[in-house]
Structure formats: structure tokens, C-alpha cells
Symmetry: C2
């Protein structure tokens, strides 16, 4: 199997981006990624676009085609990947496989989503369909805050996790988002503000939920031969990608205090990379809701099951702690443009591993230069875990 | 690069399948494919689902998740691939790359589409969005019959192609569909019936257009090591997959008498496989409209540009001719469940290369056992060409 490296990354400003259409938004990520890699659009042989809401919460049915055209990539092989909120990681996996197999030397994963063309109740309804639509959505009216509220209450009941613990995730991630120029939210919040924000689905309050965000992120991958030919200074190698899936029907899950697909995807990724959770020095995890970050700590093996809140309270997931998590603000505060998120995680970790995190105080101190991205689709319907090493 | 073979195929009955939901339809393809391969669902490490209309012309937003669950595949890596009408081929490419790279040994590409849950005008409108939506659809009201009518009039103007030539494609493909138990249409038609059918978008009449079809097809791929371990009698090897893309905006195309993305995808596939068009003994090509089959003959190099009608008139694309094309009935008469089509093409060619075509008179005589599948998305927005060899 050929080695594959990240050689260029770009990230649009995340936020309410009604100032641009979807192709212009993509361009904001593609242009800097191409410049970063020191290549031209014509060098890119295959493009995988991660986007979940094409034709639903934004109008264009074929975003891969029109963004490729706008960015000068027409002629390359093309596909759109949908793995719900893990669509960006699925796009990375597709391009990674194409290069690792020897079919191509340079490819691009482009994650993008325009979510704010419809109002929030509509987008929440559309996202809510991404469960077992005919069963849970139609019969029970489940939407995603409700799904993750179930996870939260299960975790609280079994491990004594508190509303304050959930709020701590929000406070941490807002703190880092305030230092991240691409983040949707640029302000810190206090634990009191989080706890007194209005209820969405108990115990989740407004500040426990990621926002509805527009954004794009691009990741250019290349073979080892190409890395040498292009004289890339600081290639960031993809050591492995693990993946798994979960049932659509939640009543068929063994447990609600974690996501089995996260556990399996992580095990696969660790095994292929020959590392363990103790080797990871910086991670981006899928914190669509605050409880999801706590479950991820446990599912990824950063601590034992049930000890996520303790890890958090001790500050171990902040910079300076044992395993800094979501120091870009996470989905919670950087924002979660669904298809873009997986690519944006790789953008952040590439910047971290190159020691280029925008402001000095956002740079994680590194020794072994190993990082992990954890990207979940739905409530564990899909999961991809990617391990990177400089 | 590791060798990859097709080891199992399945195809649901194509047609108006309001008797089943999408998971049941998928099962009709997955079950025989798994039995054909002689494996169990748990052996499948990764599943790529080709489907374009999820959440649009059928309700389920995450068809990959729920079909995986229904077919016992939960836990495998999972992604849905969208490349418009080439989604099935994109799914094959994804699984092929994952195996060729050495990441997995067995994977499945599952193409599916439920198109008849909405009425025909609605589905035609939704498909029509798969151009440059904000430009051509909104401003000019273009839908796909209109797009391909433009191709037809261009071909007629430049090469003297006639309405009778178009009708000949329909007559040929209906003839073979009548012998294919999975085909949507099981009846032959005459050239007079084709020519006197009602106009859709001149010169295209009803019988020049593929139907709106429900269907699913599954293709199981495996590494060479696994082929040996499983003692597969007649593996069908994927020699190469070529791909390309075209502009969304048709005003930026150089020509209307063919699809540049088909030409480039074919050139890539021929080069990688080390064969030429003269080596192909049986082909499935993307005949969403009759003119598309004629353009494909030319774009794939089965004849010179402009000589497609001659090749057809001579009967060279029938069984017994130089290069039999769409002897399963093609999209035109077997039907075109959008995401399923690419996988169904591989189903047909695998059966042909194994000399298992259902009825004796549908089996193409083979010498070198080389076949080609040509799958287009939109009007050449995407193209995948796959070359198979037994």
C-alpha cells in the first residue's frame, strides 16, 4: 500500500455565509489549499466532494459538478460522498484509497455545506430525517437534539454526569473558537451563561448544541512519490483510516452511553497505524452536542468508560492537558457545516502538526506528532477515525 | 496495485416496484450477490451505496444506513456515492480502490433507486435539476429530454443522423429486454411504433426515452488473495476504471455531438487496461436516450465520429455483430433506476463473461473475454468507464 500525505489545506470562514453561493464558498477553501500545496488545479486527478444536503437545505443538486467547474477542476474524476455528518471524512477516505491503490497521485477531498438557505426549524427537520426516517422520525418526531438528549440522560443516569459537565465542554470549545479566525462563534462564554441558556431538549440547552453553519474545507492528498517530486516541506501522513457503521434503528443499539461505531472505527484506525490512544497528542472529535464530546473521550480510549467528565473537569482535554481536544472550537463553536466538518478536522490537525495553529496560544505542544480526527454521521450511523502523523 | 475481481452479483427485478420499500428492494439484489459469492454478510468490510435521489424522489435520507441494517451489513464501513446517473459506477470505484489499496479484502457496491414514489412530472423536474440548476434549469426550464434532444439535433445536423436511426436503438434494446427477466419492459417494439410514439422533445419521442424505474443491483468485489481463498471458479477481474467530468454549464462545452468526459474516461480505462476499443467483445453503454447510445459508440471508439448510425444500421451492435451493445435491454428498455444502473451494468457483464446470460440467445460469443461498461452522470457531468476481463 502506497503512503499518502496531506500536502495542502484550506478552510473558508465558517458562519452565516449568505454573502456567497455554494461555488464561491467552495472556492474560499480550494484556492488556499491549492496554493498551500504549490500545485495547479490541473494537477488534481480526482475530487471527492463531501456534502449531505445537496438539493435539500441548499438548492444545487450536483454540487460536485458546479464547484469543480468554478474552481477549474473539470475533467478530474468526480464523486459526491454522503455519510451524513461524516461526509467530509468519507470524501477523504475515497481520495486516500484512490492514491494508496496507485490509481492517482494527487486528489482533493472538498467538504462543503450551505445550511442557512432555509430557516432553522426546516434544517432541524431535514437533519432529523437522517435517522430511521419512516420509523423514528415519522412515528416519534425525533430530531437530533432529542437523540443526543437521550444519550445525555443515559450517561447521567449511569455515570452521574451533570449538566455542569456538559456546560464545561461548551465553555472550553468557545474559548478556543474565540482564538480561531475561521470559527463561526468568536466569543467566549461562561459556565453560567451555558447553564442558563434556554432549553432545547433536556438536559441539552442552547449552548450544548452546535450551530447551523455554512462552510467549506479542502484537503489535498498526494502519493509519497509526488511529495518528493513537489519537495513538500512538511507532509502530514495519513497513517490509517478506520470506519464502522451503526443501525439506523436506535432500538437495536446495545447501549446509549456511547457509540459502538466510534469504538470499532477507532480500534481499526489504531491497529492499522500501530498506535494507541495514549500516543495521540491532539484530537478533533465529533461534538455536535456537548455530550457527544464526552462520549468520544471514552469511545476513543482517551479515558475509561464513564470517566469522560473527570477528564474534562481536570482540564486534561485543554492545551497543556493530557490530550487536547477540539482546540479549534469543535463543531460546537467553530461550527458544523455538515459535509465540511470532516475535511475541516483534517485542516486543523494539519495546521497543528505543522505547528502553524493561527495564534500561539492555540498551538498544542507536540513530541511524537500524532493526531486523530473522529467524525460521526447521524448518531453513530457512520463513523470514520483518521490518524495523522507528521 | 492489488488485483480486484467481481465475485458475486445480484439484480432485483427492475420496474414499477411499489410492492417493496427501498430496503426490501436492496435485499433482492444483496441476497443473491452474497449467495453467488459464497460468503456471509459479515465478510463484507465496506459498502458503498450508489443512489442519487435519497430524500428527493424517495423519502429515506440515509439509504446506505437502513439498507445495510436490513441486509445484515451494519458494522461495515459505509458511504453513499452520488455521481448523478453514474452513482453506481462511483460506488464500484470506491470499493475497488479500497480493495486495490490493500485496506480491505471484500467489499460491496450496491446501487439502488426508488423513483416511482413521486409522479413522472415531479421526477423529471427533480432530474432536471441535475444540470447547472441556477442557470439552465431556472432560466431556461431545461430537463433531460430537452438536453438530449439538443444532442440529437446537433448530431442530425452534422452527420445526417435520422429519426429512424434513433428508433433503431429502441427496437434493438427492446428486443433484448424481452429476453431479460430483470428488465422493466418485456416486450419487443417495431420501428413504426417507435416512430409514431408521441413526441417528448423533438426529435425524441416516447420510445427514445428510458423509463422511470425502481431497482437495485449489487456487486461484490474481492482481492486476488480472497479469490484464491474462497476458490472462486470464475472471477471477473476489473482491469481498470477510467473517469472524467464535464462542465455543469453546457454553454461551456466544445461540442454537442458527443460527450468529452466519455472520450477521456474511455481513453484512461483503455490505457490502464492495455486494451483498445477493438478488443471489447460486449459492452453496456449509457443509453438514457437513444441518441446517447449512438454518441457512446463514437465516444468509446467503437467507430469513427459520425459513423455511429452506420454501425447500428449494419447490425454490428447486435449479438453476432462486431461489438454487441446493451444486449440486456440497456437503460432504454431494461430501465434506469439511476443509482442502480452502474452496478446493473457490471451485473450484466459479469453474467456475460461467465457465459451465464439467462437465455441462450442473449449470450454474446466470446474469445478474449473482455467487456466494457460506460456510465454517464447528467449530460456528461460525470463519466466512469470500467473494463472487465474473465
Amino acid at each position: 500500500m502506497r503512503k499518502v500525505a496531506v500536502i495542502g489545506v484550506g478552510n473558508s470562514k465558517f458562519g452565516n455565509r449568505q454573502d456567497v453561493n455554494v461555488t464561491e464558498l467552495a472556492f474560499e477553501a480550494v484556492k488556499p489549499a491549492i496554493e498551500d500545496a504549490g500545485i495547479t488545479p490541473k494537477d488534481i486527478e480526482f475530487v471527492a466532494v463531501g456534502s449531505a444536503g445537496a438539493g435539500a437545505w441548499y438548492e444545487e443538486a450536483l454540487p460536485a459538478v458546479i464547484t469543480a467547474e468554478y474552481c477549474g477542476l473539470t475533467g478530474a474524476g468526480l464523486v459526491r460522498c454522503e455519510a451524513a455528518c461524516a461526509s467530509g471524512s468519507a470524501a477523504v477516505f475515497t481520495v486516500y484509497s484512490a492514491i494508496a491503490s496507485g490509481q492517482i497521485d494527487i486528489g482533493m477531498a472538498l467538504g462543503l455545506e450551505k445550511m442557512r438557505e432555509v430557516d432553522t426549524p426546516t434544517v432541524v427537520e431535514l437533519i432529523g430525517r437522517a435517522g430511521y426516517y419512516l420509523w423514528e422520525f415519522h412515528n416519534f418526531g425525533m430530531t437530533f437534539p432529542a437523540y443526543y438528549a437521550m444519550h445525555a440522560t443515559a450517561h447521567m443516569a449511569k455515570y452521574g454526569t451533570t449538566e455542569e459537565d456538559l456546560a464545561l465542554v461548551a465553555v472550553k470549545n468557545h474559548k478556543y473558537a474565540a482564538m480561531n479566525p475561521v470559527a463561526h462563534f468568536q466569543k467566549e462564554i461562561t459556565i453560567d451563561e451555558a447553564l442558563s441558556s434556554y432549553p432545547i431538549a433536556w438536559p441539552l440547552k442552547l449552548y450544548d448544541c452546535c450551530p447551523v453553519t455554512d462552510g467549506a474545507a479542502a484537503v489535498i492528498l498526494a502519493s509519497e512519490e509526488k511529495v518528493k517530486e513537489l519537495k513538500i516541506d512538511t507532509p502530514v501522513w495519513i497513517e490509517s483510516i478506520g470506519y464502522s457503521s451503526g443501525t439506523g434503528n436506535l432500538s437495536r443499539r446495545d447501549t446509549y452511553v456511547g457509540l459502538k461505531s466510534s469504538v470499532i472505527a477507532a480500534q481499526k484506525a489504531y491497529k492499522k497505524a500501530g498506535v494507541g490512544p495514549e500516543d495521540i497528542e491532539v484530537a478533533t472529535v465529533h461534538d455536535c452536542f456537548t455530550i457527544a464530546e464526552i462520549m468520544a473521550y471514552e469511545d476513543l480510549g482517551f479515558c475509561k468508560k464513564g470517566e469522560g467528565p473527570k477528564l474534562l473537569r481536570e482540564g486534561q482535554t485543554e492545551i497543556g492537558g493530557k490530550i487536547p481536544v477540539n482546540v479549534d472550537g469543535g463543531l460546537k463553536a467553530k461550527g458544523h457545516p455538515i459535509g465540511a466538518t470532516g475535511c475541516s478536522m483534517i485542516y486543523e490537525l494539519t495546521k497543528q502538526l505543522r505547528e502553524e495553529a493561527e495564534k500561539r496560544q492555540r498551538q498544542v505542544p507536540l513530541k511524537n506528532y500524532i493526531a486523530l480526527a473522529h467524525n460521526v454521521g447521524g448518531t453513530g450511523h457512520y463513523c470514520y477515525v483518521t490518524i495523522l502523523r507528521r
